[in-house]
């Protein structure tokens, strides 16, 4: 095979039959879909019938590493996972930083496709090309950290890497995540899909080469690019070096910090307890993901108080928002404790926090009653009750069983107007970015493949940005559809190659010649910029086609009612609200920029242009 960067192989595992099989990754597929995200949507679109149960035996999972992963290029090490989501009922993907994806390649594969359901707990051990399905009865029920350590001892490889679920995934919590080391592919409940298959972990280790097409060119490029550009690029300041815990203070100052279940966007009275300066009191060290020059992950040790000595990597901004300001918990030490719990149990911190905030508001309104709580005093700011509830969610005990369903299903079951307090879009709980104050992000949530996710569309509205034709007017709707069109082509293509989205700090959030250069130096496939933009477009559109097949159209590209009915009550963006007209305007722009019709459905002509006819 001519192409480099790739290992050229996909491992297919049938858990029902207990068999494995190796497939070739063809040049044609690589050209059309590049890898990871592209490979996943290509596979799942063709192999998953519409309407299947995400937690049933028909669902399939794709674990993948993009073609650039495993090389020295920084910002490119994402562990990519996709399946039909039990939270949204749609195609969903989640990615984790860390070390698993490069190790998968050294073990000989670009991707692993998991099919069927095992009749007993198992884990998959991939060692230099050889794959083995092993018993996992003795680690079923164990938390993610311990389970990984046991497996690594068992396979006798201290440098093995695992993706693993905790009790939450085993108990089919709809927002259970997958942990790679301590990095989470958290969103959309893919951990529950693993749990439904009784697959505890996939452990990989190898010693195979990742080759690149033009090593001399790559070395020259490295001299000129990331390493040389690091100083002065902004990477040595801000959240790329200090972590996303820099952001709470920034967003408080902008007045765009989700607080009190989004009744407010400032946490004036006690937000300081969640600022970077507070976090620093427990900072142990800074970490990097594989091959990365940024140091956004940091290790934090709770310095004092009831959770003293709890150690966690993070918490990241989203966790500080979801388990902090959203629940009116101003204590970084408690956030760290719950962050660690979520990692251990294998829960998505965003959905966990937003679901807790939902429950608290329902308690406040009398929708969740005393009887349902069994003595839990679940009100805003009660940290101890939050800690207890998280455990109940992971184990599906008491009220935790209801909350394990996520805000959308829980609200339906509770009825009595609970839906209004459920801050999700298409079932996915909102991350900590403003819908009302940054209209483009609002649109991003409304149309996002995964629902309310900040990694389909991105939040780029804090400062003017000529690269995406943005002048700095956050609250204005006009133009934002076109802007998110540009961004989604980039996020989709970046997910195919294996990029962390924080690479946008260096290469911008629009596909550019630099992305193409990296891809070509590694693969030798000679892509042009137009071709790569076409890949982003093709992948994003095929994802949409999957969702359309499951019943998504314009009428479902909506947002929680709160953002239409209540304006931001105070702070710099006081008065900002989303209107239906604004959302409609942005939807029109966005659909048009992707060549979809007014109902948000890709046109047959467009599919033909993208080589997707026959899909």
């Amino acid at each position: 095979m001519g192409k480099k960067g790739y290992m050229g192989k996909i491992l297919r595992v049938d858990l029902t039959a207990g068999s494995t099989e190796v497939e070739e990754l063809s040049d044609e597929l690589a050209r059309k879909f590049v890898g990871a995200n592209g490979l996943a949507i290509h596979t799942l679109y063709r192999e998953l019938r519409p309407g299947i149960d995400p937690l049933g035996k028909e669902n399939k999972m794709v674990f993948a590493a993009g073609p650039l992963v495993g090389t020295i290029l920084p910002f490119i090490s994402r562990t990519y996972v996709a399946a039909k989501s039990p939270l949204t009922g749609l195609f969903a993907d989640a990615t984790a930083g860390g070390f698993w994806a490069p190790e998968l390649k050294y073990a000989g594969y670009d991707a692993v496709v998991i099919e069927g359901v095992s009749d007993r707990p198992v884990y998959l051990w991939i060692n230099d090309g050889k794959a083995e399905i092993r018993e996992a009865g003795h680690i079923w029920g164990k938390k993610t950290g311990e389970a990984q350590e046991v497996i690594h001892r068992e396979v006798g490889q201290r440098r093995a890497q695992s993706v693993c679920i905790g009790p939450a995934g085993e108990n089919l919590v709809r927002y259970a995540g997958i942990l790679a080391g301590v990095h989470a592919a958290a969103r959309c409940g893919l951990g529950a899909v693993m749990g439904s298959k009784r697959l505890k972990a996939i452990t990989v280790k190898g010693s195979q080469d990742v080759e690149v097409a033009d090593m001399e060119g790559l070395k020259e490029w490295l001299e000129r690019n990331p390493y040389a550009r690091f100083p002065g690029s902004g990477l040595d300041k801000g959240y790329s070096s200090r972590g996303t815990v820099m952001l709470p203070e920034l967003f408080q100052n902008f007045g765009l910090w989700g607080t009190d279940n989004w009744r407010r966007e400032t946490y004036d009275e006690s937000g300081e307890g969640l600022f970077h300066s507070t976090w620093l009191k427990g900072e142990v060290k800074r970490n990097s993901c594989f091959a990365c020059i940024a140091t956004c992950p940091g290790v934090y040790r709770v310095p004092d108080g009831p959770y003293k000595a709890t150690v966690t990597e993070g918490p990241e901004y989203e966790t500080v928002y979801a388990l902090g300001s959203m629940c009116l918990n101003p204590d970084m030490r408690a956030v760290a404790k719950m962050d660690r719990m979520c990692d251990d149990y294998g829960l998505d911190t965003i959905s966990t926090g937003v679901t807790l905030a939902f429950a608290m508001e329902c308690v406040e309104k009398g929708i969740i009653t005393r009887d349902q709580l069994h003595g839990l005093d679940l009100r805003f700011g009660n940290v101890e009750a939050m800690v207890q509830t998280i455990e109940k969610i992971a184990l599906r005990e008491g009220i935790g069983d209801l909350l394990a369903e996520g805000t959308r299903i829980a609200a339906r079951k509770l009825d009595r107007g609970a839906e209004y307090f459920a801050i999700n879009t298409k079932g996915l709980e909102h991350p900590g970015h403003s819908t009302r104050g940054t209209k483009g992000m609002g649109l991003g949530f409304a149309v996002g493949t995964r629902g309310a996710h900040h990694h389909d569309g991105r939040d780029f509205e804090y400062a003017p940005n000529p690269l995406i034709d943005y002048d700095g007017d956050r609250e204005r709707a006009r133009g934002k559809g076109v802007m998110q069109g540009i961004i989604t082509r980039w996020t989709a293509a970046a997910d195919c190659m294996g990029f962390c989205h924080f690479a946008e700090k260096l290469y911008g959030n629009r596909l550019q010649q630099e992305h193409v250069d990296m891809l070509n130096l590694v693969t030798g496939l000679g892509f042009t910029l137009d071709e790569l933009i076409g890949v982003g477009e093709r992948v994003y559109t095929l994802e949409r086609l999957f969702q359309v097949r499951e019943g998504i159209d314009r009428s479902k590209d909506r947002l929680p009612e709160r953002f239409f009915r209540e304006a931001i009550p105070g702070g710099p963006h006081k008065g900002a609200i989303m209107t239906r007209e604004e959302l409609d305007l942005m939807l029109d722009e966005f659909y048009e920029s992707h060549g979809w019709d007014r109902r948000g459905i890709p046109t047959p002509e467009r599919l033909k242009e993208l080589g997707l006819d026959g899909y």
């Binding site: 495993g70 090389t71 020295i72 920084p74 070390f99 050294y106 950290g145 990984q148 350590e149 440098r159 080391g181 301590v182 190898g206 010693s207 195979q208 080469d209 990742v210 080759e211 690149v212 090593m215 070395k219 390493y227 690091f230 142990v284 060290k285 800074r286 970490n287 990097s288 993901c289 594989f290 091959a291 990365c292 020059i293 140091t295 290790v299 150690v311 966690t312 990597e313």
Partner: protein, 139 residues
């Protein structure tokens, strides 16, 4: 007295760029198992340490080698493996107290840090400054 690549664990972020730079320089590929420097991680939260040859004054790897394939240069102090003579028995790997010697996964021969001929690539690629070229006197 030999110079060697000194590591400062408190600055190491565990990025493993040093491993990648090393295999890039010596084998023209990316493969941490071919690198002559290894990042050892102690826990999932990642307390790491670089394992790399310090070119000992009295190299135990050299004493352990049954076919005298390892030698120490009297002038530069560099400890190196003669790839022709090495049988890949792994005695040196066992003997090294610093876990700095390993067997190349393809050739099966012992490999250790050769200081890149005097300009260590891992040091120049280590962005956090956790590696430095210097230091003398070990073991």
């Amino acid at each position: 007295m030999a110079r060697f690549v000194r590591s400062y664990p408190e600055r190491c972020t565990g990025c493993r760029v040093c491993e990648l730079a090393c295999s890039m320089a010596h084998d023209g590929v990316f493969n941490p198992e071919k690198a002559r420097i290894t990042i050892h991680t102690r826990s999932l939260e990642r307390m790491e340490r670089a394992l790399v040859c310090v070119h000992c004054d009295k190299p135990r790897c050299m004493d352990a080698c049954p076919v005298d394939a390892i030698s120490k240069d009297p002038t530069s102090g560099l400890v190196s493996v003669d790839g022709e003579a090495c049988t890949g028995c792994g005695e040196c790997v066992e003997a090294c107290p610093f876990d700095a010697m390993k067997l190349h996964p393809e050739t099966g021969k012992a490999i250790n840090c050769d200081l890149c001929g005097g300009d260590p690539l891992c040091v120049s690629y280590c962005r956090p400054g956790a590696l430095e070229f210097g230091g003398t006197g070990h073991g």
